[in-house]
Amino acid sequence: MIDVIHIVLFTFLAVIAIAIIRLRDLFAAVMLMGIFSLLSASLFTVMDAVDVAFTEASVGAGISTVLLLATLSLTTSKESTLYQRPQPLALAAVVLTGVALVYATFDMPRYGDPTAPIHHHVAPEYIAQTGEVIGVPNMVTAILASFRGYDTWGETTVIFTACVGVLLLLGGSRTVYRVRHRNDGESDDDGAAS
């Protein structure tokens, strides 16, 4: 049964991905990307990774879609047809990379394999210690906030930095602009005084 769900979800993912590539209407493409994220979230849920699914659903299907739509409202919702000429070299590069990636998956352990290296590094320690040291039922929260607190601190800093970058780039009329106006005004005053 779970295999059927996997196959259906992956088929939908592939179909939507192809549709996004082929669409020239960017509005529809953004909507499809939201659906793509929602399907990914469903896949994560099927794989019992609820926290990841939660993040994917809220960020991928929610905020990203809104931000992309906001971008479209500033630009245009029609894709430029400047580069529509077939590019055999690009196709070859993409196919080769894809083949290499598929070849690499043969060496990967099967999904959920208990002997996989990932389950023998720090994971057993976390699982053993969460109950007594942290005392939080949700192990994901315990790892993210406590065991891996440095990582989450770094991630929060990344989000903060992204916001500062956007503020500097787009907040112009309210931050840089005002400073410039004030400076202009001051220099004018100085000019009048001298």
Partner: protein, 141 residues
């Protein structure tokens, strides 16, 4: 300002529920799926929905950009100050066990504050970025 009656009524109904759900995700992250990041995104989505339905100016009156910019930094500093407090209490950076008399209580307190910091920063960042995108190209922005 959008005039569609159904959308307006529904979003009026939904926005408080979305915010409540964000708070639930925030403070229930220790027990169920979720945590600061998801809660922040959901809260930011509520602010964005408000801005979409009732206009950017109305949203900026409710959530002034200056306050949001303050919160962007405040959340991160809250996170960092928990780490520094742990150092002052004789532990390592972000070692929550020293924050309270019992190590497990310290861990609880640390995780709660740290997740709160993440949530505040993320919600404020999402709203700020949307306000900047939506306000671009307008004279009053």
């Amino acid at each position: 300002m959008i005039r569609h009656v159904i959308l307006r009524v529904l979003s009026k109904l939904l926005i408080p529920l979305i915010m409540l759900f964000a708070l639930y995700v925030q403070f229930h992250g220790d027990y169920g799926p979720g945590g600061g990041f998801q809660a922040g995104v959901i809260f930011g989505a509520a602010i964005i929905l408000y801005a979409l339905m009732f206009g950017l100016e109305a949203a900026k009156r409710v959530f002034p950009p200056r306050v949001l910019e303050f919160l962007v930094a405040f959340g991160l500093l809250l996170y960092g100050s928990v780490g520094v407090t742990a150092i002052l209490d004789g532990g390592n950076f972000l070692e929550y066990s020293v924050l309270s008399h019992k190590p497990v209580h310290g861990q609880h307190l640390g995780i709660l504050l740290v997740e709160l910091g993440v949530g505040i920063t993320v919600a404020a960042v999402m709203a700020t970025i949307f306000f900047l995108f939506a306000g671009r190209g307008r004279s009053d922005a």
